[in-house]
Amino acid sequence: MTGLLAGLDGGKLLRHVLGAVLITFLMTSLIVGLELVATQTGLSLRPRYHIVLYCVVVVALGSAAVFALVERSWRLPMLVGVVLAALLLVPLLTGNLDSDLAFLLPFPVAPLNWLALFLPAFILMRAGQLAYASARPPAAAARRRELSRTGKLISMGLGLLLILAAFAFPVSPWGSRQLVDILTIVLIYIMLGWGLNIVVGLAGLLDLGYVAFYAVGAYSYALLSEYFGWSFWVCLPLAGLFAASFGIVLGFPVLRLRGDYLAIVTLGFGEIIRVVLINWYEFTGGPDGIGGIPRPSFFGLPFQANAPKGGGETFASFFGLSFDPYHRIAFLYYVILVLALFTNWFTIRIRKLPIGRAWEALREDEIACRALGLNPTNVKLAAFGIGAMFAGFAGSFFAARQGFISPESFVFIESAVILSIVVLGGLGSQLGIVFSAAILIGLPEFFRELEDYRMLAFGLVMVLIMIWKPTGLVSHRDPTIRLHPRGDGR
């Protein structure tokens, strides 16, 4: 035991773990510790003590591991990883835990289930340990260089692994209708977050009306398909184009404002678009919305049970499969995954171009930008337009996925949620947005059965993250260009 805790401050560790336990207790009591059940007298809340206890134990162990990682000890995290996995595994295998978590272990044989838990736990712990080692290099320069390189390789490997896992997910044993559906929604918000990140995170323009461009994209596709019968794949770029033009048109008068004033005016514009959508009944269908929006097809093959009226094949008949609605859900998932990855690629790339540097410079100091010959209006307009374009793409996908849109979907709270995703993730950080979208969108979807309580939990999570990580989950900034290679000791 003493060897395990070597070099660790016991009292500090205890305080750290106790704090985490307390917060976990408060949070889980609200989120998962209560179950809504229908009794004869009506709905009532039933406490689920065992789940709360379980979460507290898991978090206590996890926080001890993180503490040990930060303090540069590695034996404890390794052990904790294994214990955590066992903790998850044993009750699940013996069937003692709520069956809600059973989806974690979909394999028919026990050894595969064991692997499915231990392997990721081990990889995560090892990656965490190495990442910390490279983030806080020891004194020896040679060792530092080596570690930084491994650290970079690991983060790249993790990213690749994440992308591969995302692609493999629907066809893996975990892929259920509900999960893939939730992930599709999460991916829409990740894409919106990445789009807004260009405007808020990079260019530093506080945009509270981002959902307006999302609405423009959604209505572009809905209306074009309704009036002209154009397909999703034709309308997708058009929707982006329309949204970008809206961004630029709205941007012109607005962008001479700064900070709070800009936020208020963008908020107003967001509402104006929604109000126009509600009141222009003849064109947009007003509050009735637009229904029957066609789903995207797979190279012209629709996802339907029966062949379309004019003859031709469906996706299932073409590939000789029996019709399954899961095909369509998985396909939609892949579409948004590719769209989101494109957004990510675009953002990472444009950040390293002159315009990306100009955005970050503008965020830092507009006056200095002017003194260097940058035209602030153009730079801002580019950010606004490109950010809006991605909202337009996401919007048209949203319309295609839902099949029905109305102004109800584009209220202010949506803008607020997207903005919180960006801020919680850490302004300007791509990976942080993935995490925060998963937390802010994924968790409430998971705990839908808790109804209004989840909004309470949502608020609590936001407050806690802001206390723990005031600059966002991932707030590290890498320069867009380096003179000396990374880990050169400079």
Partner: protein, 282 residues
């Protein structure tokens, strides 16, 4: 030969306050022209008029550089830098503190880089023509970093640099816009003797090697007297004297502006001694 910069009857009024009152002077290429004067004399206001941050009330500002003739008072702020080639630094340093030292110098080359990246299209596709242009920009930045001894710290956040380094970086950044006229607003403020000495060398080097005109606002007399080719003295918005450092040092109006009326006969000598900070004597 026409001077690089001709300021004619420049007046800047804020309501009832006349910050700059009918000032005329010229600045030559390959020369350092200093503007001095007590606090509140209108020096920075004049700079802001020159660099487009203020619209002058009246007056004409003509720049006749390599890039052609420009009437500065008619150009937008960013075009004064981009088209006419007037770069400036600020009294309170304005670096992009969160960005790296190298990035600061890259942003300064935005206009050219933007064109080279095909308004980001070529850059997104990663075409070789853009990559070459980027390498050239890094090369220019690197040569400046070598000159100001910041090569090792190129990847540091600019905000993490020492004060003196930040001052020099801001000058290098302004120079990366490839200006014909460089306006420096109190570059020696907050520097110690060694650092301001280095600054003198840097400014002289820029003047000689790059052959551009430098306009300098400065309180530090060791800098002003040491490197100026010409000095313009402002007081209460009016130009009270103009000439070489030697002429200015002995000008009674200047002495009066800085220290008030002499009451005794021997005072001017003390004042002259105070102003006489010959860098060679240090």
């Amino acid at each position: 030969m026409t001077p690089l910069l001709t300021v004619e009857h420049l007046t800047m009024r804020f309501g009832g306050l006349v910050a700059v009152d009918d000032v005329s002077f010229t600045a030559e290429q390959s020369q350092i022209t200093s503007i001095i004067g007590p606090n509140g004399a209108g020096k920075t206001t004049m700079f802001n008029c020159l660099t487009g941050f203020y619209q002058p009330t009246t007056g004409q500002l003509t720049l006749a550089g390599e890039r052609g003739d420009f009437l500065l008072e008619r150009l937008d702020g960013h075009r004064i830098v981009r088209d006419a080639g007037v770069a400036r630094t600020f009294q309170n340093i304005r670096l992009f503190t969160g960005m790296s030292v190298l990035e600061n110098l890259m942003v300064a080359q935005h206009t050219e880089q933007m064109r080279a990246s095909g308004w980001s299209m070529k850059g997104l596709l990663g075409l070789p023509s853009y990559r070459r242009a980027e390498e050239e920009a890094v090369h220019l930045a690197r040569s400046w970093l070598d000159r100001i001894n910041l090569t090792d710290k190129a990847d540091w956040p600019a905000g993490a640099l020492a004060y003196g380094d930040q001052r020099r970086l801001e000058i290098a950044r302004a120079m990366c816009t490839k200006p014909v006229l460089l306006c420096l607003d109190e570059p020696a403020a907050g520097l110690n003797h060694t650092e301001s000495h280095e600054l003198n060398d840097l400014l002289r080097w820029i003047k000689e090697i790059h052959g551009i005109g430098i306009l300098l606002i400065e309180h530090d007399m060791s800098v002003v007297m040491g490197i100026s080719d010409k000095i313009v003295v402002l007081d209460y918005g009016k130009k009270i004297a103009e000439g070489t450092p030697a002429e200015i040092r002995d000008d009674p109006r200047v002495i009066k502006a800085y220290l008030g009326e002499p009451e005794e006969e021997d005072l001017p000598d003390i004042v002259a001694a105070d102003l006489d900070l010959d860098p060679g004597a240090r």
